[in-house]
Symmetry: C2
Subunit: 206 residues, 2 copies
DNA sequence: GTCTATAAGGAGATAGAC
DNA sequence: GTCTATCTCCTTATAGAC
């Protein structure tokens, strides 16, 4: 990538990195400009406001993440195995970039209203035939047949997501190991993934 | 509480409230002063820096929370019941102030280094006879006797804490219910508490 | 103890030259 | 497109009058 070509895209890349590392409020447009190697006013020339830059960076990513939530629901395999796949899938998604989970949680805490439009689009009961509805139907069917204990789909999903996301919140902070060594973190995450799968699967047995 | 008496304490109360609601970086000393009804420089007269004010507010609370982590470990009752009590206990602690969990997680993400001294004091292997060590001994004993599945105490604790804290991160944001109605939130939290207890207990069965 | 005044710096955003 | 200069506002912190 040439240094002087496509400044607009380079601003997007750099902004994504800095927002992920330091959050929205912790990143200034001046800092983004410095990292890009351009003038601060250029940020505003291309994106007008910092808020709009934020959305230009993240709305495609949020869409992408939300839309692939149903990817691992292959109905040809055993339900328990499908749930294990869901955990693997979420874990793998967050493992691609370990800054993602802290970023999401932080922005959710600091400015919950900002994410309302995504909640409305993907979790509200009005929007039928969503990924969550397919997941819910699948869980209800297992409960009704008595193959798993009585549990609401939303609770199962919250359990899986809470445990998975939390693993990445704790991991890089050295709370688990006392060290920030890369191998230790990897083995910590692998260990957490397996334990979470065991926990979630045991937790829904009839 | 008189308005003109004990300004120092009033600064501490107001600072606690604002730090909890808006985080450390989101709260200015000017804003604290305005809420107290005093001059901004008075904050610095009493506490010198914002950082020191932060610690004067929270280190007693952190000490208190960390020191009572072993409170529910009454050894006269069944282990499974003891674990259920631990969940009840953590839940109750966070229910006392629903701003606590988001605050802790947010500060942990934004400035992990700040909490290093507490980690060192309470979770490092060097500091023996801590609350965690007693918990660990208890879990190891149950594993060795075959009464529960093979699990490390730290994993069990991370499971419990992740699920409990996450419930409060999601709760006030309307992600679960789509509403912020107080009764809905209460029933959401009660429901989560029971499901988490079931999950954690099922998850360690042999 | 409490105030005014102010330093010294950083933020987001805009006008206008080139 | 990209820049300089600048506006306005806000931050933490200090000096010194009272």
């Amino acid at each position: 990538m040439e240094r002087n070509q496509n400044i607009e895209k380079r601003i997007l890349w750099v902004a994504e990195r800095l927002f992920l590392e330091k959050g929205f409020s912790g990143t200034s447009t001046t800092e983004i400009a410095k990292a890009v190697g351009c003038n601060q006013t250029l940020i505003h020339y291309y994106f007008r406001t910092k808020e709009k830059l934020f959305w230009d960076v993240f709305s495609p990513k949020v869409e992408q993440v939300l839309e692939c939530l149903d990817a691992p629901l292959d109905e040809s395999i055993d339900f328990i195995e499908r749930i294990r796949n869901v955990v693997d899938f979420y874990f793998g998604m967050l493992e691609l970039d370990e800054r993602l989970a802290p970023f999401i949680v932080n922005e959710l805490i600091m400015n919950p209203g900002r994410w309302g439009k995504f909640r409305d689009r993907y979790l509200r009961s009005e929007s039928r035939s969503s990924a969550f509805d397919r997941f819910e139907n699948m869980v209800d069917e297992e409960v009704d047949s008595g193959r798993i204990r009585r549990i609401k789909a939303i609770d199962l999903l919250l359990n899986i997501m809470s445990l998975t996301i939390s693993a990445f919140i704790v991991a890089p902070k050295g709370f688990a190991s006392g060290e920030c060594d890369s191998n230790l973190r990897k083995s910590y995450l692998d260990n957490r993934k397996e334990d979470i799968k065991t926990l979630v699967v045991n937790g829904i047995k009839a």
